[in-house]
Amino acid sequence: MIETRQLEKTFKNGDVLTPVLKGIDFKVREGEWIAIMGRSGAGKSTFLYQISLLDDPTKGEVIIDGHDTHTMTAQEKMNFRLSKFGFVFQDYALLPELTALENVALPLLMQGLGKAEGYAIAKKELERAGLGARINSIPSRLSGGEQQRVSIVRAVAHRPKVLFADEPTANLDNDSSRRIMEIFTELHRAGQTLIMVTHEEQYAKLAGRIVHLDDGKIVGTTG
């Protein structure tokens, strides 16, 4: 489903070149839950950004469903992300002026759904996530755990092929983190492909496969 071949990413700051990813070969099968682990600066998030088409690699290939993404325009990548991917960020990344309902409905509206239909789906998904009472709250009125749950609902409401999560529990307390992981587990059971960056081993163990990164390379795979 997603495959990388000799993926490299080097950051340039003036004349200084900093290689972060150094030739990664990687494959994800449909329905898999993969946890990417590694110490700080290992390149976990950078790797996630490359395979989720948020960033362009310096070298190598990212192939998704047989498409070589190297040849895609920025607009095509944006459309791809909109229709096929879902994103959960560490800091929830909800738009502060939109209610929970509007935050979830936004990508649905962008996909061309009418307002009534988009809102209906968003409401149903929020209720399913136990947020039925908070649909009209703006993010600042929600707890961190609630915000992250809204963020997950937003990421999956349009039924993406792959859900990317970048340290989704990093800012949450234990209870909220466990709740998030329960949601991920439910999604995985329902067949959702999940790629998650985390530094918490207890949550990584929930994934079917753990990929260990160090110094820009895959140094081991568990599961």
Partner: protein
């Protein structure tokens, strides 16, 4: 790119951004827009209004809506009696005043002047009028500041325009002389052609119209005998039209009747001196310059506001793009916000201008020596300026949004430069 979906989504985002924005910030931006609107409309409106006030005053106090004067090579309007009869048959004409007008010399204090003293004289226009007709046309008696106005039987009595009197126009100029120590009841000599007559000052009239302020008014019957005109021909026929009647239509009717063969027929606008038209044009130009500066300031304000807004929201813009929202939809949201600020500012400005300022200036004009300054704000021109303001604001809102949105998505999300 300009798809209905992007526009719809841009509107969706804009409405929510505005609804949940800080009231103070929104209020401040709209306040700047209102000031800009006022700068666009009021500054030039007052400049033009100064002159328009003068034009209106001349219309009210002298020319009326339509004025008939002698042809350039004639001393008076020939066939005046028939012309007056014709004008009286026109339904559109409300009132008319036929005037006699001759240049003359006024002399005061001639009885006490010693041998070798300089004569106390002034030059002015001697105007013969029917007091009732003139009052109906111009309300001339309302301008009396001392004494009283003429009545039909006032023989050897005159009303002086205030520019002829030193106490009202205290300037020392060899080119312009005024009468000293003359007031109500003073005897003065009037010299018109070879005829000199002693008259008594019955009233002093003060207006901002030179044609009145530099004139000496007397009843028409005496004026006729003074200038020796017994054929009924007059020098001016001014007419006021009924409300709603276009002066040009009456002018054209008179011309079609052949009046222009023996007299000059003009609307009050036609009769404006060229220098007045030039001043109006110049003031319009000046107003446009000031307006343009205001427009640039407003554009820069909106640019800064939107730029700071977009910059502080760069992370969210990155997230929006990250989850697949088209950058154009985000640009549209900023454009819609800018349009909202400009439109609301303009609407408040329109209400201020038309509900408060225009009536206020009309009721309490700015007191200038040459006119009562009013605020001129024709609706079509004002709406054009609203369009200009909205357009420039739209551009000023779009550019910073475009600058931020075109940045790399991931850099925006991570706050990298």
């Amino acid at each position: 790119m300009f798809s209905p979906l992007n526009i719809r989504l841009g509107f969706f985002l804009a409405i929510r951004a505005l609804r949940r924005a800080s009231l103070w910030t929104t209020g401040l931006i709209i306040f700047v827009m209102v000031l800009t609107f006022l700068n666009l409309v009021v500054v030039s409106g007052i400049l033009v209004g100064l002159i328009q006030g003068a034009v209106d005053a001349v219309r009210v106090s002298y020319t009326g809506d339509v004025i008939v004067t002698p042809l350039n090579d004639k001393n008076y309007i020939e066939n005046s009696a028939n012309l007056i009869a014709l004008v009286k048959t026109l339904n559109e004409v409300d009132v008319l005043s036929a005037r006699y007008r001759e240049g003359g010399i006024l002399e005061a204090n001639y009885k006490t002047r010693k041998e070798g003293d300089k004569a106390n004289t002034a030059a002015g226009q001697i105007v013969g009028i029917d007091p009732a007709d003139e009052q109906a046309l111009t309300g001339i008696a309302d301008g009396i500041v001392e004494g009283s106005f003429l009545t039909e039987g006032d023989y050897d009595q005159v009303v002086l325009g205030h520019y002829l009197l030193k106490q009202y126009l205290p300037i020392e100029s060899p080119a312009f002389s005024t009468l000293e120590n003359v007031g109500i009841g003073s005897k003065i000599r009037l010299k018109v052609g070879n005829v000199t007559r002693e008259v008594t000052v019955k009233g002093i009239i003060k207006t901002k119209v030179d044609e009145v302020s530099l004139s000496v008014f007397m009843v028409d019957s005496q004026m006729r005998s003074l200038i020796g005109r017994s054929d009924g021909n007059v020098d001016e026929i001014a007419m006021k039209l009924k409300p709603g009647v276009e002066p040009a239509s009456v002018r054209d009717t008179l011309k079609r009747s052949g009046v222009d063969r023996y007299a000059k027929v003009q609307t009050y606008e036609d009769a404006q001196p060229q220098f007045l038209k030039d001043i109006i044009e110049t003031f319009n130009l000046l107003g446009n310059v000031f307006s343009s500066i205001g427009l640039v300031v407003a554009s820069i304000t909106i640019f800064i506001v939107i730029f700071i807004n977009a910059l502080t929201r760069r992370k969210y813009i990155g997230i929006l793009k990250g989850i697949g929202i088209d950058g154009k939809a985000i640009e549209f949201s900023y454009v819609f916000q800018s349009i909202f600020y400009a439109l609301l500012g303009s609407v408040i400005g329109l209400v201020l201008v038309y509900a408060i300022l225009v009536p206020m200036f009309a009721a309490h004009p700015i007191d200038f020596p040459f006119s009562d300054g009013i605020l001129v704000a024709p609706l079509d021109q004002t709406l054009f300026r609203v369009g200009l303001l909205v357009f420039s604001t739209l551009i000023a809102g779009y550019i910073p949004a475009w600058m931020i949105i075109r940045k790399n998505t991931l850099d925006s999300i991570l706050g990298r430069n």
